[in-house]
């Protein structure tokens, strides 16, 4: 009894000796003869040799090449038109606007860019604006926002997060929406006109809703106070971002697209991953199944040129694109699939040769080699 109580010390690892009671616990220490403890669990032991992996390579090849072709074809079927309206060249219609720029200029500069669509765009057309060399993914920039303010939190509206500095307050009043992202929001206005061959200029209707993620619009972004009926009152006591022309509650006239839930704003707030990016601007909905959404012909892009890009040597583009299940036009994935599939197929053939040459050796007879 007492002996065992002393042996309690054994657990400390100080005294690790089977006590005199060893005879009593005869065979007590015998390890269990289980498959797990004896490391004999049934196991699948694949050996990677030319022979065993051959089928895998052929299968990969056979699967990848069709996928690649499919992707490539899909990508090629997407129609995309892109026009740069930055106005760097003297000849460009927007050259003047690009020269005399300032965030705070009161007089809007407009320019008109004509272009010709060689193909008709059948389905819904997505209109994007594209920016190059704009580092929306800069660390400090990405952080410079207050999500709880955007989520309609009244406290954050009054007292924006420190992350928004130095765009948190202006003249002692909190900025809504605060932060550098909101402050630098894209504010060009793009309008599209179809020059009918008969000479008339038809404005193409652009839908400005449905361009943001549904979850952003309905969950993440909320106007303060919850209801958007009296949106001006909700933003009472706040200041507009310094670069903005008008306060946030005047972004749109429609109540469900105003304030923080304005979709242009929401789209801008989703910071782009790469310095050259495009953002969805408007959607041109297909009106009837008979006429193409955008017929072949001459178009005019009317730009209210507000957004300065010369400070970072950026470019502004307008992109018109149809959309497929795989998104925008990008032939890369299709080519990549075809290439990888072909490489695997080729490797499969190489391995087949190797298998035939060394296959016999790599088996049992090889041991004495």
């Amino acid at each position: 009894m007492m002996a065992s109580s002393y042996n309690a010390k054994d657990e400390d690892g100080h005294i690790t000796v089977s006590g005199p009671g060893g005879g009593g616990t005869l065979r007590g220490k015998k390890p269990e003869n289980t498959a797990f403890k004896q490391q004999r669990l049934p196991a699948w032991q694949p050996i990677l040799t030319a022979g065993t992996v051959l089928p895998a390579f052929f299968i990969i090849g056979l699967i990848f090449i069709p996928i690649g072709i499919g992707l490539y074809v899909t990508s090629n079927n997407i129609k995309e038109f892109e026009i740069d309206y930055t106005g760097v060249d003297m000849s460009s219609p927007c050259f003047n606007c690009s020269q005399n720029f300032s965030w705070n200029s009161t007089r809007p500069c407009t320019c008109t860019v004509p272009f010709y669509l060689e193909q008709p765009y059948e389905s819904n057309v997505f209109m994007y604006y594209g920016l190059s060399n704009f580092y929306q993914n800069h660390r400090r920039y990405v952080k410079s926002r207050d999500d709880s303010q955007l989520n309609g939190n009244v406290d954050s509206l009054k007292e924006p997060s420190k992350e928004c500095e130095p765009y948190a307050k202006h003249d002692g009043k909190p900025i809504a929406p605060c932060g550098a992202i909101a402050n630098s929001m894209f504010n060009d206005t793009l309008e599209l006109f179809y020059n009918d061959p008969n000479g008339t200029r038809v404005q193409i209707p652009l839908t400005n809703t449905g361009i943001a993620w549904w979850t952003d619009k309905h969950v993440k972004f909320r106007n303060p106070g919850g209801d958007s009926s009296n949106i001006t009152a909700s933003f009472q006591g706040t200041s507009k971002p310094v670069n903005w022309r008008k306060p946030v509650y005047e972004l749109d006239t429609a109540a469900d697209n105003n304030g923080f839930i304005n979709e242009d704003f929401i789209v801008w707030m989703r910071t782009a991953a790469l310095p050259t990016f495009r953002k969805l601007y408007r959607i041109i909905n297909k009106t009837s199944s008979m006429v193409p959404t955008l017929p072949r012909g001459n178009y005019t892009l009317e730009v209210v040129y507000n957004y300065p890009v010369r400070s970072f040597e950026g470019r502004k583009r307008m992109i018109l694109s149809t959309i497929s299940w795989m998104g925008g036009k990008n032939p890369f994935l299709g080519i990549a699939y075809i290439t990888v599939g072909s490489v695997c197929f080729f490797l499969g053939v190489v391995l087949l040769i190797i298998h035939h040459k060394c296959g016999n050796r790599s088996n049992s007879a090889d041991i004495s080699n």
Partner: protein, 1323 residues
């Protein structure tokens, strides 16, 4: 408590400090002060007996634990990063978020520490509250108190089987002679009883001890941790000093045995007790792999800095290139922007935070977990479990498991390591005459037969009678033989069942006397009884029986000792008790049949011994009282006239500190000289005549490694002469021989010495351990003068050991030789097989032994360390000059030999035999290099007659000079140095106590376990861990580089496109378990293959799987994979409206797939667990990420993961990108593996191939492989029981003269390669 001034308190504290620090302590009894306040107590400065092994207290846990944890560099790194993140200009993430990893790690560690500490607290409390008996003056008796109440100066009474609560100076015992037995297994694991005696002359031994009469002051030394040393003296009121040593100290933690009760005076209590001072924590060793790993971590640091520099420079250039301030550059709160150079500087630190995972801090935690798992599997291996001792392999050092897979040199002790260390008396030589004990040899040979039917039912299994000794048994009942046979097996089992009793098995203890010798004794007996002269033969056996420290314990005492376990044993294993009953009659019966049979054979073969045999037979028959059961006959002269019926010799059981002693006592017993009792001042021996002689023991000069002998000084009860019996190693004795003994003998002493020496040499060649026995009659005058010196020496407190040893040397002169004994120490099971396997595994095996070269060489051949076709170089020289020249010549020869093209194909190997003296010279600094160079070329090295210090020196020299991984294995205290010097020390828990085990990193119970431990577990642990570590490096680099590549597209601004929480989770949950499982459970090759083809072990030696090249290849692979994982999604999403974190999600997912599938390529064997964990990780990733992005709306800015993964998973592009990227990322590694396995498969891959074949072809192919590679097959065929003289056929026993020539029969010839030092071993 009265108020005392702080000054007084300080003074008191200082005084206490001084009292504790003093070299000598004065302790007085507490009893006169009982009940007084603390300030008046004489021993108040010394700590009480309550122990506290806890590290922390409840209040101070958090600060102390944090302080402890911040001693680790990794934690400081973490904290540094977290602090860096709080600096606004450099932070990469939310500062609070950056605290998470360090907090998680600190919390987990703190929880673990708290739990361990709580366990310690519990065990402390249990221990402190154990009851004990303390004397109280008030109650005039011993009252029950707790252990924690014991103070220095108390009197404590310990009863039998109780544990000693503190270090006690033994004052009184129930034993009239004042002795007390203790068992120290709790301290050092030695299970034999140790004798402690009361301090002589201090207390008048009343039948009842009166603590109150104790009025001496005990002066003792400062506490130290030496368990075998203690110095103190007691000063009586009359200033007389009485000395005492360790022999009077009962150590805390020991158990009192065989003694009804004992009373002691507490000298050290609590933490000052020797057992507590010996409690060191677990050992910490750093493995070779870990050292290499640290270099690689260093490379990672360089890589990190390079990447951060690139980031900083890139940021600077990017800023420089901007014409004006763009809208996306955010100034600080006062609208100020840093200059590009300053921003670049800050960016460097931001990058460190961002890329911190590159330094695999979690790797250290993972390695610890993996090692715990590996140790779990090692200790649970049923093949490493020893039935006999019921012990598993113990892993004492927790962090060097993988070193087991890299061993290049093994240094092994011989005795107890290669051999059983169960000594069996084999031969003796008395007065120059050899008695070969053939019958005994035969018996042992039979026993050595392999036990084919382990679980034989011992009564009725029909068995062919054993041919060897039933050849002539026409008249013996065959059933008899069978019965014996069965009972042997049974008794062997029974004997080992109670293995805590040393040498209880009849296998070791039974000795069949040599007939001629018996005859000689009976003749001597009859003559000496009449003539009062002492015959040297009788003297020899008296010496055998007396000259030792064997403790006799009665069977009754034995039972008492094991009483706690007795009932469980009975219930558990009734068969054992049964077999215990059976074994004795059986074994004795066997002896009788032997005797009955013997004469017959003598007649038929009829040589010179016939007449003697006839002479000899009648006494047997007459003495044997027709007692078939032979209950009380161990000697032929059965004690029919026994005057102590209670103590028949069968009840005796001997407990010896060294197995040799027990073997000798049993040998003496076989000849009728039965050691009946031993107290500290007397020895009782029963003579063959049945007479009991009580020798007064005047002194025992105990064994020490310097003298290499022990002596006992007794007074002969009849002649009243002082007789000194000395036994010791032959070279320690031979030079002390004096004038011829026993002038009545015709032969001169010189001849006896020469003959004996010759016999000794023969014994040594047989591999027997030799001991010489001498006698010396000490004259009264001489004794008186010596006694004065001796007393002075014993009372001395300084240099006591040396003085005591000097007195011993003084007395041990002019000895007269009685004879010598040869004791066999049989090889352990499958030692040769193990050694061959280890050598095939590319491990050089060295044997370091204290034995003579002849013995060692013989054992070397027996265990196949040396082979017949080997070239054996024998180095033995007297001075350094010859040593140098020999070394040079040998080296030259060996070089020439190995370079000779003719020898390339031969399997002949070189072995070196070197003795201790030559070794000392060879290891001197100028010859060291040459010696190591020579040894490097030898396949095996045998060092003889080496001291413990030399052993460790050899290990150190080889380890340092050759830069190899060394393993030392040993079982005794003399191996401790060596075990500690080697990279891995392995202790064999054998017969010689536990010192080696205590000092070792791993403890095994059999030498053969080494084979599986190294070849299988070593290989596994090493490859698993090495692959795991490489994988870990790869994993971190591959993942972190995604962030790095992104920097090229975000202006080197330190943006992470993956949510920080998901990044933490990625490392913490999604990809942490699979590599740990990989490190614990991957089986690249099955155990069967590894054991079958030891050559596979060579993979781990040197660099093995963990080379710098492998590290860099996997680094390159990581870079490639991260490039693929980043740029394929990049190109796919180029110029689209994707946002930062939506872009990060497929990257994260792809990394997860790539990293897990990369591991899947590396995993060699898939069990259920592997599937569950790998698939579980993927499922966990999706569940956690989906839940996280489903619930987190505004949390964790700026990432806002809300609905990101959901929207991605609704997009087919996501899947297409994931599949393509994963395939492209893994293709090169996959192809690499396939090509390597197909074109140039490594031996491991080949072994894996073999593993899949069916068993019969597999074993055939394994054989083929082995025979091709190592030529092992040829040698294997001869693998059988080691050649031993016991295997001589019974016939030639009687054909040859009993002396020498047959012993010399298996003489070996050494191949010595150069002329100038050709010297056969035995000259």
């Amino acid at each position: 408590m009265t108020w005392r001034s702080p000054l007084a308190l300080v003074r008191e504290a200082l005084r206490g400090q001084r009292a504790r620090e003093k070299d000598l302590r004065n302790l007085a009894s507490n009893l006169p002060y009982e009940g007084l306040e603390k300030g008046k107590q004489p021993n108040r400065y010394f700590p009480g007996n309550a122990i506290k092994t806890t590290k922390y207290t409840l209040l101070l846990f958090i600060p102390m634990n944090l302080f402890e944890q911040f001693h680790r560099l990794a934690n400081i790194y973490f904290v540094g990063l977290a602090i860096l993140n709080f600096v606004p200009v450099v932070n990469a993430f939310q500062p609070e978020v950056a605290l998470i990893p360090i907090c998680v790690i600190l919390c987990l560690t703190a929880l673990k520490d708290a739990w361990e500490d709580f366990r310690r607290y519990q065990s402390d409390r249990k221990l402190n509250n154990t009851p004990c008996l303390i004397y109280s003056r008030k109650e005039k008796q011993f009252v029950e108190r707790r252990w924690k109440d014991v103070r220095v100066g108390d009197f404590v009474r310990v009863v039998c089987n109780e544990i000693v609560p503190a270090d006690l100076l033994l004052l009184h015992t129930s034993d009239p002679s004042g002795v007390c037995h203790i068992e120290t297994s709790n301290l050092d694991g030695e299970t034999n009883l140790k004798l402690r005696r009361t301090m002589s002359g201090l207390c008048i031994s009343h039948p009842v001890f009166e603590p109150e009469s104790f009025n001496s002051v005990v002066v003792c030394e400062k506490p130290n941790n030496n368990l075998n040393h203690f110095k103190c003296y007691a000063e009586k009121p009359d200033k007389e000093k009485v000395g005492a040593g360790i022999e009077s100290l009962l150590l805390r933690g020991c158990t009192v045995r065989n003694t009804d009760h004992a009373v002691g005076f507490v000298v050290y209590a609590g933490h000052e007790t020797k057992s507590m001072l010996n409690n060191n924590g677990p050992r910490y060793k750093r493995s070779k792999l870990e050292r290499k790993l640290n270099i690689n971590v260093f490379f990672c640091v360089i890589l990190l800095f390079t990447m951060c520099l690139i980031g900083a420079l890139g940021h600077f250039l990017w800023l420089q290139a901007l014409p004006v301030v763009p809208p996306f550059l955010v100034p600080d709160s006062n609208g100020h922007l840093d200059s590009p150079s300053l921003s670049g500087f800050y960016m460097f630190f931001t990058m460190i935070i961002l890329l911190q995972v590159l330094i695999p801090i979690s790797l250290y935690v993972s390695i610890e977990l993996v090692k715990i798992g590996q140790i779990f599997f090692i200790t649970n291996d049923i093949d490493l479990y020893d039935e006999d001792t019921d012990s598993r392999v113990q892993c004492k050092a927790l962090n060097i498991t993988e070193d087991l897979g890299q061993i290049e040199y093994i240094f092994s002790d011989k005795t107890g390591t290669l051999t059983e260390n169960k000594m069996v008396f084999r031969r003796c030589s008395i007065m120059g005459t050899e008695y070969p004990h053939k019958e005994n040899a035969i018996r042992l040979a039979v026993l050595e037969e392999p036990e084919s039917e382990e679980d034989i039912i011992f009564d009725h299994v029909p068995q062919p009678p054993n041919t060897r000794w039933s050849l002539d048994t026409e008249d013996t009942n065959p059933e008899d033989t069978q019965h014996h046979h069965g009972s042997w097996r049974k008794s062997k089992v029974a004997g080992t069942a109670q293995s805590n009793v040393a040498f209880s098995s009849p296998l070791e203890t039974e000795v069949i006397p040599d007939r001629k010798l018996l005859q000689q004794i009976s003749r001597a007996e009859s003559s000496s009884s009449s003539s009062q002269k002492i015959d040297p033969y009788l003297d020899f056996f008296l010496a055998l029986a007396i000259c030792n420290t064997v403790v006799v314990s009665m069977a009754t005492a034995q039972r008492q000792r094991t009483s706690e376990s007795l009932h469980s044993r009975q219930t558990n294993n009734p068969l054992n008790t049964l077999s215990n009953l059976v074994k004795k009659p059986g074994s004795l019966h066997r002896i009788f049949t032997f005797w009955q049979r013997k004469p017959k054979r003598n007649r038929t073969i009829s040589e010179d011994s016939v007449t003697e045999g006839d002479d000899f037979n009648p006494p047997v028959k007459t003495e044997e009282p027709g007692d078939i059961n032979g209950l009380q006959t161990c000697s032929l002269y059965a004690p029919s006239q026994c005057n102590m019926p209670a103590t028949t010799s069968d009840n005796l059981s001997y407990e010896a500190e060294s197995p040799d002693e027990a073997a000798l006592v049993y040998a003496a017993k076989a000849y009728g000289f039965t050691l009946l009792a031993r107290t500290h001042d007397s020895v009782t021996v029963r003579l063959p005549s049945g007479e009991d002689l009580v020798f007064e023991v005047l002194d025992t000069l105990t064994f020490d490694p310097i003298r290499k002998r022990m002596s006992i000084l007794v007074r002969h009860p009849i002649t009243k002469k002082f007789v000194l019996y000395t036994k010791g190693a032959d070279y320690a004795i031979m030079e002390l021989l004096g004038t011829p003994y026993a002038e009545h003998l015709s032969g001169s002493q010189k001849n006896i010495a020469a003959d004996t020496q010759h016999h000794l040499d023969c014994y040594a060649k047989e591999g027997l351990r030799t001991l010489c026995f001498t006698k010396k009659i000490v004259s009264d005058k001489m004794y008186e003068s010596w006694l004065v010196n001796r007393r002075r020496a014993l009372a001395a407190i300084d240099n006591r050991e040396e003085l005591v040893m000097d007195t011993a040397v003084q007395l041990e002169t002019n000895l007269s030789l009685l004879g010598a004994t040869g004791i066999e120490d049989r090889l352990q099971e499958s030692v040769p097989d193990t050694i061959v396997a280890l050598r095939e595994a590319g491990i050089q095996v060295w044997v370091l032994t204290g034995d003579k070269p002849e013995t060692a060489v013989n054992i070397g051949y027996a265990c196949r360390l040396l082979e017949d076709e080997d070239l054996v170089i024998n180095m033995s020289c007297k001075n350094k000059l010859t040593c140098t020249s020999i070394l040079d010549c040998t080296l030259e020869e060996v070089r020439r030999y190995s370079e000779d093209p003719r020898n390339v194909d031969t399997t002949q190997d070189i072995s070196l035999v070197i003795d201790g003296r030559t070794l000392t010279m060879a290891l001197s600094s100028d010859l060291q290099d040459r010696f190591v160079d020579l040894a490097k070329r030898c396949r095996s090295v045998l060092c003889c007659r080496v001291t413990p210090l030399q052993k460790s020196r050899v290990v150190k020299v080889v380890r340092e000079k050759l830069k190899v991984m060394t393993l030392a294995v040993g079982d005794g205290a003399n191996d401790v140095n060596m075990i500690q010097a080697a990279d891995i020390g392995i202790g064999i828990s054998g017969q010689e106590g536990m010192q080696a085990v205590m000092a070792s990193d791993f403890a095994i119970s059999r030498f053969r376990h080494l084979k599986k431990l190294l070849l299988v577990h070593g290989h596994w642990c090493y490859t698993r861990l090495a692959n795991m570590i490489i994988y870990f490096f790869y994993k971190n680099v591959a993942y972190v580089n995604l962030l790095f590549w992104y920097q090229f597209f975000c202006g080197f601004s330190g943006t992470a496109m993956i949510d920080y929480w998901l990044m933490i989770f990625f490392n913490l949950f999604f990809t942490s378990v699979p590599p740990i499982m990989f490190g614990i459970m991957d089986n690249d090759v099955s155990a069967e293959m590894l054991l079958g083809v030891p050559e596979l072990y060579r993979m781990g030696q040197g660099a093995g799987a963990y080379k710098f090249s492998t590290f860099w290849v996997s680094m390159l692979d990581a870079f490639y994979q991260s490039l693929v994982c980043f740029f394929i999604p990049y190109l796919a999403y180029q110029d689209s409206d994707i946002d930062v974190f939506t872009f990060g999600t497929p990257l994260n997912t792809i990394s997860l797939f790539t990293i897990l599938l990369h591991l899947s390529i590396e995993i060699k064997a898939w069990t259920v667990i592997h599937w569950v964990i790998i698939l579980g990780s993927v499922v966990l990733y999706f569940i956690v990420t989906l839940a996280y992005s489903g619930l987190c709306i505004t949390c964790n800015p700026p990432s806002n993961p809300y609905w990101i993964l959901q929207s991605q998973m609704a997009d087919p592009m996501f899947y297409l990108i994931c599949i393509l990227t994963t395939v492209v990322a893994l293709l090169p590694r996959y192809i690499f593996h396939v090509l390597r396995n197909s074109i140039a498969p490594s031996p491991l891959a080949q072994a894996r191939h073999l593993d899949r074949l069916d068993p019969s072809t597999k074993s055939e192919l394994i054989k083929e492989w082995r025979s091709f590679r190592g030529g092992g097959q040829v040698k294997r065929s001869r693998l059988s029981t080691p050649p031993s003289p016991t295997l001589e056929t019974p016939v030639d026993i009687h054909l040859q003269s009993p002396i020498s020539s047959d012993v010399m029969g298996d003489e070996f010839i050494l191949n010595v390669i150069t002329e100038n030092y050709q010297r056969p071993l035995h000259t």
